[in-house]
Symmetry: C2
Subunit: 330 residues, 2 copies
């Protein structure tokens, strides 16, 4: 799957930035992919891109309209369909990462087939996946793991890829979730594959590579999250990570969506390391990535300095300090 660039980002009627996190992610990490934004009348989010209608975007070369918003329920809304169809008719493909598929909307499916356009439902892979074989692959791999869902694993991975590329290191971000796929333009949403193929999907996604090449694989869930731990376990075994980065949001008091406490950092690192060493005995932690957005800068620095002393690893907030000190460890 390779989504054609550049993109017109569709923000629909998004009321807050969380609803538009896919569009904001693409804009933040790959502004060069983005020609403009398309907003409906009551949209309250601005990605800081030119507002373009479909004809103007197409005239400037837009190849794909990307649904950059998730409404409540995460489905394609009825009042979006006319605009999405217009984009197909203008010559663009469509891409989305919602629960229902673009191709499940008869009007869009029929229009795309008639015109030979592509519908990218990035949550659902069409690749036939193998059962994982666990065989060691050439190349190096880094995997962020977390104390919880949604604590900064994708952001950390993208920051590490960007910083490696800036140093001239060969590196590729490998997306494992719908936002990451739409940000980077490729990947496999491993939470949507059939359970027997989780690790096999990751082996496919991060294949054998040059010995000095780094795959920076997007992490998912947590081994301690009772809803999604299976996805995380298969991801770790399929990734065969050489390097692990622990991601943590220090102000959270319960895991996302469930009534469970967060694990202690040392316990979390120990279990992730044990799992990783099954398929890569040389796996080790190279840093800790803190999402400190809810702390003052002073409080964040105190907290991170304390962690550095406890664990003897570089501790950074990628947003505040960047990830260079982690890369220095590789």
């Amino acid at each position: 799957m390779e989504i054609q660039k550049p993109y017109l980002l569709f923000l629909a009627d998004a009321h807050d930035r969380l609803a538009a996190k896919v569009a904001l992610g693409i804009r933040h990490w790959h502004p060069e992919y983005c020609i403009g934004q398309l907003r409906m009348a009551d949209c309250q989010v601005d990605c800081g891109l030119p507002d373009l209608d479909i004809a103007a975007a197409r005239a400037q070369g837009a190849k794909t309209l990307v649904v950059g918003v998730a409404n409540r329920g995460g489905v394609i809304a009825e009042n979006w369909v006319a605009l999405l169809r217009q984009a197909l008719e203008s010559g663009m493909d469509l891409a989305a990462g919602l629960h229902n598929r673009l191709s499940d909307v008869p009007e869009l499916k029929e229009t795309a087939e008639r015109l030979g356009r592509s519908l990218f439902d990035v949550r659902h892979t069409s690749v036939v996946l193998p059962v994982a074989n666990g065989r060691k692959r050439a190349g190096k791999r880094l995997l962020p793991v977390g104390t919880d869902c949604s604590c900064g694993k994708m952001y950390t991975a993208l920051a590490i890829e960007k910083a490696m590329l800036a140093r001239g290191m060969p590196a590729t971000f490998r997306a494992t979730g719908q936002t990451g796929i739409l940000v980077s333009g490729a990947g496999i949403s491993i939470d949507a594959v059939v359970a027997d193929f989780i690790a096999g999907a990751v082996e496919t996604l991060a294949p054998e590579n040059a010995p000095d090449h780094w795959d920076i694989i997007e992490g998912q869930g947590s081994l301690f999250h009772p809803s999604f731990s299976g996805v995380t376990m298969g991801l770790i075994h399929g990734a065969q990570p050489d390097a692990l980065v622990l991601c943590h949001e220090p102000t959270r008091t319960a895991m996302r969506g469930v009534d469970f406490p967060l694990p202690a950092l040392d316990e979390c690192m120990a279990l992730n390391l044990q799992a990783a060493r099954l398929t890569n005995p040389r796996a080790r932690f190279v840093g800790i990535s803190i999402n400190s957005a809810q702390l003052t800068e002073a409080a964040a620095l105190t907290y991170m300095t304390d962690l550095e002393q406890r664990f003897g690893l570089p501790v950074v907030d990628p947003f505040r300090q960047g990830v260079d000190r982690i890369i220095d460890r590789l």
Copy 2:
């Protein structure tokens, strides 16, 4: 999903007992479900049931023809279709657990729809599954876990259910794989669900129950198997087991299908216990189940006595000694 009994077991052209393991499993565990067997001309397996053609089976009350055989590739063979269609036309439903679906064969789909018959493709659930919530459910649960795939977890679970029922204990086997589903007539094949719903599928499969009721949940894979560990992790967290039984085949030198050694028993028990305690802090091991078919009885007894002393737990081969000593521990 509730498959109507009694069954006519279809052995097709099976050449050996491994190919007919589903039929042999149903015959072994639930002879009362089975009216007879249907064998094609070159079948070389005998379940020890009366040979019946479709008309005779129907006349004796057969409600479902169960495909009890897996050919190479695990698909519905073309030369079976005429017989399967005849079963539908006689008034029977069809059930199978193969990779392709009965409903993917146009002739069978059309015939079933026309006659109002049911096609049970037990590998694929039609239940809409929730994301697991991890909330404690009333009732007790036992889960066999393994050092590897195919080392006796289903056999152990079925033996425990049977022995509990014989003692008058309220117990239900909960099938998580296609063979277990066809043996017991219900269940969810968790290796075939979407990865995000592994644990949620198990919460659905083994719901809240009376405080003294035991769900005996079929185990799958191994936390140490690099192909299937994600399924196992989600299964453990969804099961919230009160009691774990370690299953092991002592003569195996590598894990099934991959070039990995088996884990040490103590290491395997420690990791399974740590995982289980996330959703049930009172989880504990209550026994070890050894598949000793490859050992002489004397060698098996020596091996098991040694394990008993090392671990302080009852160690049995369910086939040779039964599982009563494990149940005594509950």
